[in-house]
């Protein structure tokens, strides 16, 4: 069964600093990978996704992520963090059940981002 690990439960950065959130996955085939962001009391918003092709993917709000198959990682990065980026971030892997894209997502436990002014 697939799994996702986000090693950092809580990260604090200063506004304007760069950011990298780590994500490691376990999955037997080519994974479908996602990053979602959740503000307090809100649902999940999709930041970016990787299905195939270029291993560096661009998302909304200036975020990007790089798929590294050799390291089973899909880390999220942003060059300069804004105070409005404070939220909880979830990495997820999509399951391809028997060759049919049923779309079940397995999530990591999340990383809470705090931004200091």
């Amino acid at each position: 069964a697939q799994s996702v690990t986000q090693p950092d439960i809580h990260i604090t950065v200063s506004e304007g600093a760069s950011l990298e959130l780590r994500c490691n996955y376990s999955y037997g085939a080519t994974p479908y990978l996602f990053w979602y962001v959740q503000s307090p009391g809100q649902g999940l918003q999709l930041l970016l996704k990787y299905f195939s092709g270029d291993t560096l993917v661009q998302g909304i709000k200036g975020f990007e992520a790089e798929f590294k198959r050799s390291q089973s990682s899909f880390n999220l990065r942003k060059p300069s963090v804004h105070w409005s980026d404070a939220a909880e971030y979830f990495c997820a892997v999509g399951e391809d059940a028997g060759g049919t894209s049923y779309g079940k997502l397995t999530f990591g436990q999340g990383t809470i981002l705090t931004v200091h002014p």
């Binding site: 059940a97 779309g103 079940k104 990591g108």
Partner: protein, 112 residues
């Protein structure tokens, strides 16, 4: 373009009761998935509905059941509520189960 909507926003129930949560998918989507998010955890997949049938199910007991209507909206029913069922219940919609899922704001269920 309306996104995914869920109702109610909050709900308080007593142990042993039954609850029904509702979800309307994003316009043009035909697949609805339900997730449970306990406090401090990532969402856990409950099940997915497509063409009014449960197509895939996660590791949840039979107390959790659902339904999808011809207009693609969906309900999640939980019977015999336990304290451990307290969580944020998220609905996500997609097109034919395609991986790009759009989430609603969730229903916060508290069981006392």
């Amino acid at each position: 373009d309306a996104g995914v909507t869920q109702s109610p926003t909050h709900l308080i129930k007593t142990r042993g009761q039954q609850v029904t949560l509702r979800c309307s998918p994003k316009s043009g989507h035909d697949t609805v998935s339900w997730y449970q998010q306990a406090l401090g955890q990532g969402p856990q997949f409950i099940f997915q509905y497509y063409e009014e049938e449960e197509r895939q199910r996660g590791n949840f007991p039979d107390r959790f059941s659902g339904h999808q209507f011809p207009n693609y909206s969906s309900e999640l029913n939980v019977n015999a509520l336990l304290l451990g069922d307290s969580a944020l219940y998220l609905c996500a919609s997609s097109l034919n189960g395609y991986y790009e899922q759009y989430f609603g704001p969730g229903t916060r269920l508290t069981v006392t």
